[in-house]
Amino acid sequence: MSAQNEHPNKYDVIVVGGGHNGLVAAGYLAKAGRSVLVLEKRDLVGGAAVTEEFYPGFKFSSLADGAGHLLSEVVTDLNLSQHGFQILPTDPLILSLLPDGNHLAIWHDVNRTIQEITKFSSVDAHAYPKFIEWMYKISRIVAEMNRMTPPDLPEVGLRDLKGLFSFISPVRGLGWKHITQVVRILPMSIADLLNEWFQSDIVKGAIAASAVNNISSGPQESNGTAYNFLYNWSGSNTGLFRSSGQVKGGMGALTQALAKSAISLGADILTNTEVIRINIQDGKATGVTLANGEQILAKTVISAADMRTTFLKLVDPYYLEPKFVRNVNYLKYHGTMARVHFALGRLPIFWGLNGGSEQLIKGHVQIAPTVTYIQQAYDPVKYGAYSKQPYLDIQIPTLTDSSIAPEGKHIMSVTVKYLPYKLSQGNWDELRDTIAKFVINILSDYAPDFGQCVQNYNVITPLDLEKVYNLPEGNPVHGEMTLNQFMWMRPIPGYAQYRAPIDGLYLCSAATHPGGGVTGINGRNASRQILEDLK
């Protein structure tokens, strides 16, 4: 991203880190008339939401794989469509492949999904629309919670009460009895929640898979995965538990649009510019020091970087209380995913899918047939190992957007779960090919000619997530999405209101409330908080 060659040495606001939340915050602050500078260490903005050409002509969405959770206000407030952002619709949302060649598709259309589910269980087919209707309502509550600055419990101020009221009012129609049910559901495990509704393991597996995204434990034993499930649902552009669509040009097109929008609103953006220190004077943030020694002044500094980078690297520990540092140290990251990207000479043929297979595989293709399968994919992670039967989430974006690969060729991107960041044996750099090979092996069970289609592959290990994309312990959302790291406890109890314990220093990364995913909510909430504080 080119910016002005001569940037002024003084800004109202400096944003450290050009991930999507940093760019959203920059956009909103620039729009409010502040002078804003975004500093990005890599040669491209976007953080985990980038398009990279690992092989000539093949443009991969390196990590984040969809923008279906982006807050619609962000799109309109920042005019992203004008800057080239477009989501190409996909349907079905999910195709769950089964080892016996059968499959279950979840479509936008509830009735069509009911027909699919009938193949496995008529009881579940009957339950599905009720489940969708009921959970959708609950997800609206979570959606409202996402938009608020969490109250600083147990101290509840007048401002918090206002926020609380705004979150309760849209759901009062549900009735208090149902709101009680919400309290019951949030701390449940996704397996327990689905057991209350469904009988078929296959139906439960298809639905449960997305609930363990960004969580390092299994669906069966992790209380709180129901909350994560609702979190995913709350922002989804489908009104269902999983979002859909392909960003035209790959995920980088979104962050490029955010950058263009910010620039058009007056912000400056510098890439290849590493911040090595957040400058503090008399307990107040005064700007940043760059790797080249240059200092830039600002009244307000926002860190869009993760908590470890911000507080263990960029801020002088002298200014932090030991208790705060302790809490930063104990943030739970536990990354458990890798991405494997394939450049394909042609589309593989999935043997279980008869005619219309291209249509069926346009959304997320899951290899996570049952809840037990997903749980077992996780079990070895506890001991620093990984299962040879992982949970795979596959996308073939070229079926929707042919512009990202040479003509006739395809891209397949696979999220592999669970792979532990901390291995008890071996190291990730040596295991790159091993991972690619076992993914190819598994996929060959479903598409026997898959191996022949692969021209090239690129593996992003949990260690790469940390080293290349600055995601501690390979966790893409800057901290597990567990119940103890939600709401007023995210990122750290007592600091959930986007303010760091240093005057003038703010936080806006996925480490903050409401958490991970390409939502833009963190950046938007943080900028709102900053503007309120500056009043």
Partner: protein, 529 residues
């Protein structure tokens, strides 16, 4: 059977310790009370039985720690035979021959921890203070009548206000620890404090007791706190064993109830609650007898209370639905041994520890693997075990020179034996327990005179607790406080007028606490019944 012709103010179904506690309080308040117990003895899961001649087994439960002093005092339980002897300490052998121990004397415990890590020894007292602070913070909540947020009423609003005020009074730091402990896994929580794996394991095992979760499963840190509350000011300053076996606790409560005039009838299984026009008016026994009572109280678990004892048509369908979703998942079994002599743990340097608890949880991974082994159905090949040898401190338990060993075992799933012949499965489970114990106490196999193996299924069959869950339902966040057993019905009442619940399936939950029984009795009296 003359007494049965009487009109009772209250009939208690189930003579477990909570039913007996409710009976005692109601009788103390002048009510005519009858307790009906299906078995030949009272106590429910807290009984002592001489299964093998001369040897007394505490058949299902094993330690006493959670009984609040208030109940002990109000019911004058020591007068009726309550005599809890604190355990000497706890001993945990490790796989490498080393061990860790804890003692009632904190200095001794610290010296022991220091052997493993100076850092952990330094921080242990701070951790203890924090845990007791948290236990103190939760304690008032345990004795609050849970409000129904959907329909709070004036009283509920007052409770909610008190609750808010209470939480605020904790201050930020304690409140934050509280919210963390409510949501984290025992392991993650402890890992923030300690570096010694075996020390974490000895604490984390407390967090999994009675749940079908591993130490790394979120939700288990709360269970740890639940048990800390017992240590706060329970019957003893630490875990202890009742003289004559845990049945003695039930006997003491029964004695108190009788002294206040309550009648207790054993071998009297109840078939159904008799309901007329939405109001409970009596019960029908299995033998066809009917007994009239103004108030009927179930000390059974929620499924029995609502689904077995009451006709479905008497209940709203959403209640039936919610009760059917209530999670039990019994996870623990019991092995009781009659021994020809004392077992020897080679790792045990301080021989006095044989009079304490021997915990087989040598590492966090051991615990977690025990869980992984069993969680898809079946039992742990190398289970987590809590052993006590009560005969070392209580000569009434076994003939001279002989001993009884009471082994609490986790994990065993309820539906384990369904996969095959139940007797074979029980045998295999028992063998896994002994084989695992032999790793740490090699001579034990040769000392066994008699062995009793109990699976969750056996607990259900004999004691009547659904799926054999010792807490009458998992102590998980979604089944606590105003959601225990289900939202809307956490105040010991039921939709059937004059029909109440008082078992561990109600707030505040399991353990030998007597608290549900005591609180239910107070609510019944408040209703003027």
């Amino acid at each position: 059977m003359n007494s049965l012709t009487k009109n009772y103010d209250a009939i208690i179904i189930g003579g477990g310790h909570n039913g007996l506690t409710a009976a005692a309080y109601l009788a103390k308040a002048g009510r005519r009370v009858l307790v009906l117990e299906q078995r030949h003895l009272v106590g429910g899961a807290a009984v002592t039985e001489e299964i093998y001649p001369g040897f007394k087994y505490t058949v299902y439960s094993y330690v006493v720690s959670l009984l609040p002093p208030r109940i002990i005092q109000e019911l004058q339980l020591p007068k009726h035979g309550l005599h809890v002897m604190p355990l000497e300490g706890a001993f945990t052998p490790m796989e490498d021959g080393n061990y860790i121990a804890s003692y009632s004397d904190e200095d001794d415990t610290l010296a022991e921890i220091r052997r493993h890590s100076k850092r952990d020894a330094d921080i242990f007292p701070v951790f203890n203070i924090m845990m007791y602070d948290l236990a103190r913070a939760v304690k008032p909540i345990l004795t609050m009548i849970p409000p129904d947020p959907a329909n709070p009423g004036l009283e509920g609003l007052r409770t909610l206000r008190d609750l808010g005020g209470h939480l605020k009074s904790l201050g930020k730091e304690k409140f934050h620890w509280l919210t963390k402990i409510m949501t984290m896994s025992a392991y993650d929580f402890l890992r923030e404090w300690f570096e010694t794996d075996v020390l974490i394991a000895t604490q984390a095992q407390i967090g999994v007791i009675g749940t079908f979760l591993g130490p790394k499963s979120p939700g288990t840190a709360y269970v740890l706190l639940h048990y800390y509350m017992g240590e706060l000011d329970g019957a003893s300053s630490t875990w202890g064993s009742q003289r004559g076996g845990t049945g003695g606790v039930s006997e003491a409560i029964a004695g108190a109830a009788r002294s206040f005039g309550a009648e207790i009838l054993c071998n009297a299984p109840v078939k159904q609650v008799i309901i007329k026009n939405g109001q409970a008016i009596g019960i029908a026994l299995e033998n066809g007898d009917e007994i009239v009572g103004k108030t009927i109280v179930s000390g059974c678990d929620p499924k029995v209370t609502f689904r077995t004892l009451v006709d479905e048509k008497e209940l709203p369908s959403d209640l039936v639905d919610a009760i059917d979703k209530f999670k039990y998942r019994g996870s623990s079994g019991k092995v009781n041994l009659a021994l020809d002599g004392l077992p020897t743990f080679p790792a045990m340097k301080d021989k006095a520890l044989i009079r304490g608890m021997q915990e087989i949880c040598p590492s966090v991974d051991y615990l977690e693997r025990a869980y992984d082994d069993a969680k898809y159905g079946g039992f742990s090949k190398r289970p987590f075990m809590g052993c006590i040898i009560p005969s070392t401190v209580d000569p009434t338990m076994a003939p001279p020179g002989k001993h009884v060993m009471s082994i609490f075992v986790q994990y065993a799933s309820y539906d384990m034996p369904a996969h095959g012949d139940r007797d074979q499965q029980r045998e295999a489970f028992g063998n896994a327990v002994i084989d695992s114990l032999v790793e740490f106490a090699p001579n034990i196999k040769n000392l066994i005179l008699h062995k009793q193996v109990i699976t969750p299924w056996d607990i259900e069959q004999t004691v009547g607790i659904t799926e054999g869950n010792i807490s009458h339902g998992e102590l998980m966040l979604d089944q606590l406080f105003f959601m225990r057993p289900i939202p809307g019905w956490a105040k010991y009442r039921t939709p059937v007028r004059n029909y109440y619940q008082c078992g561990s399936g109600t707030h505040p939950g399991g353990g030998i606490t007597g608290t549900p029984g005591r609180m239910a009795a107070a609510e019944i009296l408040k209703d003027g019944n």
